[in-house]
Amino acid sequence: MFKNYLKIAFRNLMRKKFYSTINIIGLSIGITCSFLIFLFIQSELSYDKHYENTDDIYRLGVEYNIGGKIDHYCNIPRPIGPNLKAVYPEILEYTRLCGVNGLRTHKAMIEYEGNKFICDKIFAADSSFFKVFKNEFITGNPEHVLVQPNSIVLTESFAKRVFGVQEPFGKTITIDNEYEMNVIAVIKDIPGKTHMEYEAIVPWNVAYREGEENVWYGWHVYTYVKFPNNYDIKEFEAKFPEFYEEYMSETFERANGTCKIILQPLKSIHLTSDLTWEAYPNGNIMNIYIFSIIAIFLLVIACINYMNLATARSAYRGREVGLRKVFGSYRSSLIWQFIIESIIIALLATIVAIGIAELVLPLFNNLLVNNVEINFTKNPVHIFGLLGLAIFIGFLAGTYPAFYLSAFVPVRVIKGNLEKGLKGASLRKILIVIQFSISITLIIGTLIVLQQIDFAKNKDLGFNKENIMVISIKDTLVDRQISVIKEEFLSNPNITAVATSYNLPGIELNHTTVNAENDEGGFDPVGCQFMQIDYDFVDLLNMKIIEGRNFNREMDRAFWDGMLINEAAIRKFGWKEDVLEKGFSFGQDSEGNILKLDVLGVIKDFHVGSLHSLIQPIVVFLIPDEGDVFYHRHKRLFVRLKNENVFETVKHIRNEWVRIDPNNPIDYVFLDENIDKLYKAEEKLINLFSYFSFITVFIACLGLLGLASFTAEQRTKEIGIRKVLGASVSNITFLLSKEFIKWVLIANIIAWPLAFYAMSKWLQNFAYRIHIGLGVFILSGIIAMLIAIFTVSYQAIKAANSNPVEALKYE
């Protein structure tokens, strides 16, 4: 019997090639997308699961409330980790991590026998690192690593990159021309995915800073702790306030703030954590939800096609059903027959889907910045997953048609008295409307995301971001010659301005608490952000001074000669008038007089971060030409280029830089590109929305095409009669198309409020956002409508052009 079902299924597929193709293409696209999404979700859920005792490892973060401003950091001041371990025995181990070039700068140049390699995952860690994160050692003893200074542990693949076939153990490499390191161990590559990737680990002494080790506010490092198995973490959370009281409260009281601890389970960091200063961009649990919904949408749309075409074509199958019943088939066996048939089609579609998935995998990975792979031998779960998916889809798509078709009463069908698929027409209409509602919602979503990103990229940021090259200064010797370098650069007619700053718009600024003068002449601590710039920075960026003046080389010689603020700072400090007479205190002189930093000028509000957040109060300190008091390894050189000859100018600067800093390759970005990076997540979203809306529209149109062709077939006689009675081709085309257009119109009515609600929610992520206008809805409606008209008109015109005599004879 099963063989009989198979035969019928295949012969039906072959006989109705048009419908079969539509069904298989639709289903295979649906399956491809769902499979890829399944792989993506599987990969996202796999982070940090490979470590031994991974459930017992937590990362420590902090929540600061400084002067009412609340910030969350994924890392904590240096002394917290060691002191917690000393006080609480339930902390079995702790380890701290810090980029070798500062907290987030886990990038360094490694040199071996004259060959240079960039390592962008190099951290300094406490010697307990491998006790918290158990790794498999190829060479070296886990007990003794990270103890001796000047030793380094490498991963297998990085060691291979540096040493090739040579044995790495015992070899010496140089890091950033500064540290000579002995390879003391090589570990296996991390076997799974992790939020904290590393290729090289050096001992803590590289990150050790005498003045920072005992600072309880600021100078953060990543800190992980390990608890006993099944330890109730709430117990520890409850203990933290007493620790805070004992060790930290004094510091925070001085800053007019408080601090709370945040414990993040290792396994959930990748998907749920988006705190300030994450070492790498994390995933987002929202993506998992969005993707799951999209996968379900796509499958539903593809299944709807199958159901629609299967039931529409019931006339062809009805006779078979009737006859099988006459000759002794139960309804239940017919139901099974149709479900099996649908599963067979889904399996065929799955085979096609595997091909498509292999083909589009690179694009998909690129889109998601992920490295999902299809490997059936390594991951048998993929085969079972796909098989399961195919059977599930076969079931989903086949059940309704199976029940529908098997319900035919034999006495009607054997007489040729078939409803010709008209029964169930309303359900088909509803299904088409659902498909198009989903498609239109996605089109609207795509357009709104596009508009918002366009708005964000073209919004007046309060400064001119175009044609600015930003070079990182890596060498203090270079830093000391800045004035000379500036002059040299400015001698090139294609360079119009050069300035320095410690900050790069597009990257979050540092926070501080300032003692701002109040109207009564006293000082209140207030949390705000700060920037450090030189005399030329404001002009270079074309920022506007709306009150007072910019820093001036002649008048301002040192940091304490004054500062600039933005408008938001005035609002935050509550200054109503005479802003230029106000200031901040920064200590007292030997005679007890308050040292005051005066406000020299007010800069018109400008965006340093993305438009997601409101403009923050910012105080701007001076970097004088001589006697820079701030310690910082990474000052940046801002170079404004003329619009013309940009390529040549960049080449010139690169050449010059080889001479200026022969030890370090030039590291530069363009400011506008760097700012545009703030919208990377949204760019990704646009890409996804565009692809998925294209796919849903495509699948929906496949269904429409099938139904249009079916309707044209069904109405052959009507068309014939109408033509005999004088209807023109356009009359007929309109007659046939109008029905479908009506459904798409109804789909608009459903999609519009849905999309409006969803996109309004999404736009709330932006402090500065577009207003959703009616235009985008109308445009989406028109797009969907045109696509639908285009899809059905071919069939309609074909039907309308047919010879009426043929049509009537046929009937």
């Binding site: 035969k7 039906n12 006859l323 006459v326 000759f327 002794g328 009463v409 006495v411 054997i414 040729g416």
Partner: protein
Amino acid sequence: MIKTNNLTKIYRTDEVETVALNNVNVEVAKGEFVAVMGPSGCGKSTLLNVIGLLDNPTSGEYYFNTQEVSKYTERMRTNMRKSNIGFIFQSFNLIDELTVYENVELPLLYIKMSSAERKKRVNEVLDRMKIAHRAKHFPQQLSGGQQQRVAVARAVITKPKLMLADEPTGNLDSANGEEVMDLLTQLNEEGTTIIMVTHSPSHAEYAHRTIQLFDGHIVTENIKKEFHL
């Protein structure tokens, strides 16, 4: 073999009620060949459907082999039908996607039978119907006469006790029509009870008895041939 008491079948739609059979009393003996005639819409096919257990009557009693079957569920009717009744239709009603062989084999799939036995039985019947050489063809590759021979083969494959033929010659030319009638006669002579709906008086001549239907009533019954049990 068949006995009906006041068999009534009413079709109802929202607005119209059509009485297709009105208190019909029929009795057909085992081995009898009965023709049913009457104008279009008189209830011939409805009668055949009820007798063939494809449909239940609205009221009345129906005894099939002394069993009252008028209230049978679909499943019970299916069970009764598949081992006892064969069908032949005017429009042949072969399944286009199946070959001649597979069409004929179809009813056997619904009664448990080994595949060797099925094969043997199908080949025998195809030989007998003189279409064995067409076994691998699809219905649309055959002439009307050949298609109806396949349909007859399919109807007899389960060796049913009762054969119901609904205008079996309606779509055939006279030569092919005669051929089918000869086949039915032959089957009847071998003991199969046949009830045949027809418009053709000459084909009705092949039957032992003709029932005339009009507006759902039996108007006359003519015994043309002697029939002995």
